[in-house]
């Protein structure tokens, strides 16, 4: 394989602890190596430019059934956004829900090389894998959802951690999944009857278990197995005024549990898109930021990581396995509503949404997301996301960087709000003058998420031995720049290497890379009870047979299997 | 004497089975080269069951065998299983929806005792070559 030497760039790498110093980065045989290991590399002159590891997205909805509902039911999302094929790029379209090809290309343009699909309904795992297969360049994995799964509800009602763990191992293998995802625990099952679970103690109809028991049990099962990633939760009560107490209650379920993982992570809970979970007040009239309370907790608890769910002030498409929330949203904005409940497992909903700077609540949401990042004491535990496409499309990450790195940019946005004064009053952001630097950004977008995923041995840094995922941006951090220059530069990488293959050269996509699908194969002790339960549920309640459930290898043409042994 | 009825088309189990067994086979014609009429309409038409009839609309004409409604009564409504025979007479206009108006085509039905019901391949072939009466 080709060798590359990226010379004289300003390097930002939390793994090596390089904070913008000039350094040379060497790539050989797909990996980062010492510069001395190269014989006749292609030289990339990065002088005056920024060099970082490939970006890692810990939470985005980019592939699978609800994403495709979003595409197919929103032809208007393709208006004015279509691009014909060009060079090796095929035609591509869509703004908030881009086609798979555009997803791969656009992430690459931002210097991202790893993207995790945040919610895979197990019964639709094939669909998710088909879309990931057709997403070029990126390494991807998908999180099957467990928080409303009948097996899990029944096992955890009696706190059967071992059985839950055996079932998780079985389902991860059957669906070729990566991690344990929980969405509105219990609430989506309640939605099967048009109901919801509003807080962590609100019992699930019929199953007689609370969301708290589900979350805690799944954390314990996750640590029992020692999976690479922690339990990854979207808590109850998303998007409602006053919901920050539910969020804190959910956080607290992780207390006293220590990580048991050989994959180098420190957390036992990742709470996603916390912006949507940090609201005070008791109505939309008096909704306010509670980011301070939330971040006070996060800052003082090491076994927790979060991501932002930053509102980008765009017209977008919301989609989540939180079925009752989407129904709530369509009642609020009266836009079209798709719902897709999945037998024995989960549900989902899709509703378009316009985050308008003229609407007070949207502006407050914008503030809250940024507050979370700016109040973070440890950027290695707070990650940049938009919960794509829920709070906005992922292509806005460079714009979020701008807001995080420039108080001036934030001021400009405040000035553009229709209800600026009321927004300032309901939030803390105007009083925060912190400006993140590129090192902190690299923590939030590279090293942090990679570590949280248990993938710091592959991604997130530039240390020798890591994957050859490197991005070069046309941005000189040592010269004065206008805030917008950040957005421009980081939207359009000059060079990108993915596992040692040059994917972008001089801003042009020149290769579809060597896309891999990551999944976790967990060895557990034989558990006849769980296998009997699986057989019985398929016989009696599923509408596909057990033998037609498991995703076969041909859906993952280039798999990367992470082996976990939990038989000890 | 011709009668006017409202024509709809759709699947029948016989249509499905004979289609999968081969549209070139006579069974397909038996299953789909028919029009199901209500007894009341048979009376109006003054014809026996299993008589060949000519069905004519603003859009075309086809000879099929008239049989008694299998899922009736539905006076005034006639049924030709989906297939080339029905498609000779259905309203092809989509009214800018992409969808031809397969259901609800006003048609005239008249007795055509001596005219044959063509097989599916012959029907479209002759139709394309302009060899149909």
């Amino acid at each position: 394989m080709a060798e590359f030497l990226i010379k004289n760039g300003f390097v930002f790498d939390p793994v090596l602890g390089i904070k913008g110093d000039k350094a040379d980065i060497a790539i050989k045989d797909g990996k980062i190596v010492e510069t001395t290991a190269l014989s006749s590399p292609k030289i990339i002159d990065a002088s005056g430019k920024t060099v970082m590891a490939g970006g890692v997205d810990v939470h985005a909805h980019v592939a699978g059934p609800k994403v495709n509902i979003g595409r197919n039911f929103r032809p208007e999302d393709k208006l004015f956004t279509y691009k014909p094929g060009h060079g090796i790029e095929r035609m591509q379209g869509g703004f908030s829900v881009p086609t798979t090809l555009r997803t791969g290309y656009n992430y690459a343009r931002m210097g991202y090389t790893t993207v995790m699909e945040a919610a895979m309904p197990p019964l639709y795992a094939r669909h998710t894998h088909e879309e990931m297969r057709d997403t070029p360049i990126l390494d991807q994995g998908a999180y099957p959802v467990f928080g409303n799964n009948w097996f899990v509800l029944e096992y955890l009602k009696n706190h059967e951690i071992e059985n839950t763990a055996a079932y998780i191992a079985w389902l991860l293998r059957a669906t070729k999944g990566y991690a344990v995802k929980v969405v509105n625990p219990g609430g989506t099952e309640a939605w099967g009857w048009g109901l919801n679970c509003d807080n962590v103690h609100d019992p699930v109809p019929y199953f007689d278990i609370t969301p708290a028991q589900i979350v805690k049990g799944l954390i314990e099962a996750n640590e029992y197995l020692g999976l690479p990633h922690s339990m990854h939760v979207h808590a109850n009560n998303l998007g409602n005024p006053g919901n920050y107490t539910t969020t804190l209650d959910t956080f607290k379920l992780s207390e006293g549990i220590k990580p048991n993982s050989k994959f180098g992570r420190d957390q036992v809970m990742h709470h996603t898109h916390v912006q949507f979970h940090s609201y005070g007040g008791d109505s939309w009239a008096n909704v306010e930021s509670r980011a301070k309370d939330i971040m006070a907790y996060v800052n003082s608890h090491d076994n927790l990581t979060i991501d932002m769910g930053q509102v980008t002030l765009d017209e977008t498409t919301t989609m989540t396995a939180d079925g009752p929330f989407e129904h709530h949203l369509t009642e609020l904005n009266h836009l079209k509503w798709a719902n897709a409940d999945v037998e024995l497992e989960t549900g989902s909903g899709v509703v378009p949404y316009v985050y308008s700077p003229n609407i007070k609540v949207c502006a407050i949401q914008w503030c809250i997301g940024l507050e979370l990042a700016l109040l973070a004491k440890d950027p290695m535990r707070v990650f940049m996301t938009t919960d794509h496409p829920n709070a906005g499309p992922f292509i806005r990450y460079p714009r979020i960087m701008k807001w995080l790195m420039s108080e001036e940019a934030r001021k400009q946005q405040f000035d553009a709000f229709k209800h600026k004064d009321k927004v300032i009053e309901a939030t803390n952001l105007a009083g925060i003058d912190r400006e993140l630097d590129l090192y902190e950004i690299a923590q939030m977008t590279r090293a942090g998420p990679a570590k949280s995923l248990g993938l710091s041995h592959m991604y997130g840094g530039l240390a020798p031995g890591l994957e050859g995922d490197v991005a070069v941006f046309d941005f000189n951090p040592n010269e004065p720049y206008a805030p917008d220059a950040i957005e421009t530069a980081f939207s359009n990488a000059e060079c990108l290497f993915k596992a040692g293959v040059q994917v972008i050269d001089d801003h042009e996509i020149v290769s579809n890379g060597n896309k891999r699908t990551l999944w976790v194969n967990t060895k557990v002790n034989e558990n006849p009870q769980v296998m009997r339960d699986v057989k019985e549920k398929f016989l009696r309640y599923y509408t596909v047979t057990l033998n037609n459930y498991e995703v076969s290898g041909h859906y993952l043409p280039n798999p990367y299997v992470i082996e976990v042994d939990a038989t000890q | 004497m011709a009668i006017s009825v409202n024509l709809i088309t759709g699947r029948t189990i016989q249509q499905g089975v004979s289609m999968e067994a081969g549209k070139e086979k006579p069974a397909y014609t038996t299953a789909c080269g028919i029009i199901e009429l209500d007894p009341v309409d048979f009376k109006r038409l003054g014809a026996y069951r299993n008589t060949h009839v000519r069905v004519t609309s603003d859009y075309g004409s086809v000879v099929v065998k008239a049989v008694e409604a299998t899922q009736g009564p539905h006076p005034g409504v006639a049924y030709i299983p989906m297939g080339p025979w029905a498609n000779m007479v259905v309203n092809p206009n989509t009214y800018s929806t992409g969808m031809p108006t397969f259901k609800g085509t006003p048609v005239q039905v008249e007795v055509a005792k001596n005219e044959p019901v063509l097989g599916s391949l012959e029907l479209v072939r002759k139709g394309c070559r302009g060899e149909l009466a």
Binding site: R74, T330, W337 | V77, T94, M99, G127, C128
Partner: protein
Amino acid sequence: MTKTVTDVICPFCGTLCDDLEVVVSDDNKQLLEVYNACAIGAEKFLHSQAKDRITRPRMRQEDGSWKEISYDEAIEYTAKMLADAKKPLMYGWSSTNCEAQSVGSEIGEAVGAVMDNTATVCHGTSLIAVQDIGIPSCTLGEVKNRADRILFWGCNPAHAHPRHMSRYSIFPRGFFTGKGHASRKVIVVDPRPTDTASIADVHLQIEQGRDYELLDALRVAFKGEKLPDVVAGIPKAKIYEVAETLKSGRFAIIFFGMGVTQSIGKNHNIDAAIAVTRDLNEYTKAAIMPMRGHYNVTGSGQVWGWLFGFPYAVDLSRGFARYNPGETTSNDLLRRDEVDAVFVLGSDPGAHFPFSSVKKIYDLPSVAIDPHETPTTEVCKVHVPVAFVGVEIGGCAYRMDNVPIETRKVVDAPEGMMTDEEFLTHVLARVKELKGV
């Protein structure tokens, strides 16, 4: 000796039953018996064994007769026809696997084709309605396990989806529906007293083409507002009664079919049906589902969704994807002479398009890829027989509730026959050569 293959997926309708058992000869050459399938599904498997099956491509001669040609010649003809055309129509895609659909999409992109599937004459109007108003839906297992109100509107599963009622909707005993049929109320709306209606608790024999009115009347009735004495031929008392039945359920599901999508009103009928479902969610839980016809029409909409962003009627002729039903739909294109070549795979427009469209196919350069001899092969210039997907080759298919299932190969195709995917892969390679890409 023989062996039995279990958990076989039936490649006929959108019900996509996956519990068939097929007996084949030990050498995988012969398919002998099919168990658990409906009459149509069984026939589909057995027809693959027909002695008179066409196993080699053929080309229509000047005198109207067929001449056998090689697959290479068929590939060359197809690739040239598509590459030379300004705006070819590539139609069908519903009776094949997603793998073939994916390769076909790449060909369409390379030649600037209009890609359309059988939704165009089936549930295309439903897809338009979903783009207007959304769709609250669920998987068929949710129906089996929870639904106690089943409404079939303008569909006749007893004939079109024969095992739907026993597997999913009326009869099965699910988790919360342990009494099966007895725990459900079944309502059928149809202008004919169909065989499905005969099993129902209530049959509303609606005047044909008045679905929109009746759907709207239901919405009025939900709110307890005043109705005229009769709507669409149904007395108002009956409408109030049905409205109450639906509202009082714990989980209501509406299945709808061609009766609403093809009758006048078209997508507006579906709009109203979905609005009824949305309204019902104010009182209880409700879902709605189109009864998709071909076993993988849903899959082609999914594949094009993630590749192009549109479920059908995708016009790639300008180098980017455009979607405008009424303009970029097959029958409109054919009737307005807007395409200059026709490629058909996995469908039979010759039998199922209005004749005026069929005549246009006959007048154009045309290729039909189909295991069967059909009215479409009869009017096309070249017929390429291929292996049966789901019988002689596996691959992914999407059920009517969008659940993907991997179909199985149970028997070998006759010696030397290509699959859809193989044929398309060759065509794609040749098209790329011709186009210099």
